[in-house]
Subunit: 131 residues, 2 copies
């Protein structure tokens, strides 16, 4: 019914949004609002995380000690900055590998329905090793 051609269904995002956030925080520290923006821009608006998804997720990750937060209002604005913990980095590696395997499984089952993922081939930069 909903004719939203340019946005993914939430069930597709489920179970990988945490991975996205972890990956973004691995690059550099961010605060929630920025992460939202980053995801939106990096995916050309195809993946959007509302605040109602973002903040609970961040709290969950912090509760699991995968990320750590600190308030900073030195720039006028009060912002809660998050950074990856060691456990977070480890989890990121796990989840990235898992996602990768899952994508392979899908490829296996979706033979004939897959177009080659051009970007995935070109933009791989193995500057970090998974596990």
């Amino acid at each position: 019914m909903a004719k939203k051609t340019d946005k993914f269904e939430s069930d597709l995002l489920r179970g990988s949004l945490d991975l996205m956030v972890l990956a973004i925080l691995d690059q550099e520290d961010q605060y929630g609002y920025l992460i939202q923006k980053q995801i939106r821009e990096a995916t050309e608006g195809k993946v959007t995380m509302g605040a109602g998804t973002m903040y609970p997720l961040l709290h969950r990750l912090e509760g699991d000690k995968l990320i750590r937060s600190r308030w900073d209002d030195s720039s006028g604005r009060k912002r809660k900055w998050y950074s990856l913990t060691a456990a977070g980095k480890k989890r990121l590696a796990q989840r990235a590998s898992q996602w990768n395997q899952y994508a392979e499984c899908m490829a296996q089952l979706m033979q004939g329905w897959f177009e080659p993922v051009a970007s995935a081939k070109k933009q791989i930069r193995l500057n970090k090793k998974t596990t």
Copy 2:
């Protein structure tokens, strides 16, 4: 907590199990129990769909007119065979394309954390076009 290294978390499956089933039914008609088996074997046990997931999903797809069922007990066993409808084929194309795009988005965001998906490169068979 759960140390299931060789099985994916259910949230990862969420939103793509229907796609799997659709893709399998596109190849040939199947009944539930068989689909379960197919998915399990095609993914080397890494993706397993319990009956409590399978049948409700099948019912949902049928309710949406994406698949059609017919009982057959000519082989001794009573089996409910499912086949794709025209709407189902269309949906499959949509969802496959969507998955593909999503995988690209992930690749975008996960730069440096992706290993090359070897199988995805080799086993692509573009015998059908998406959209």
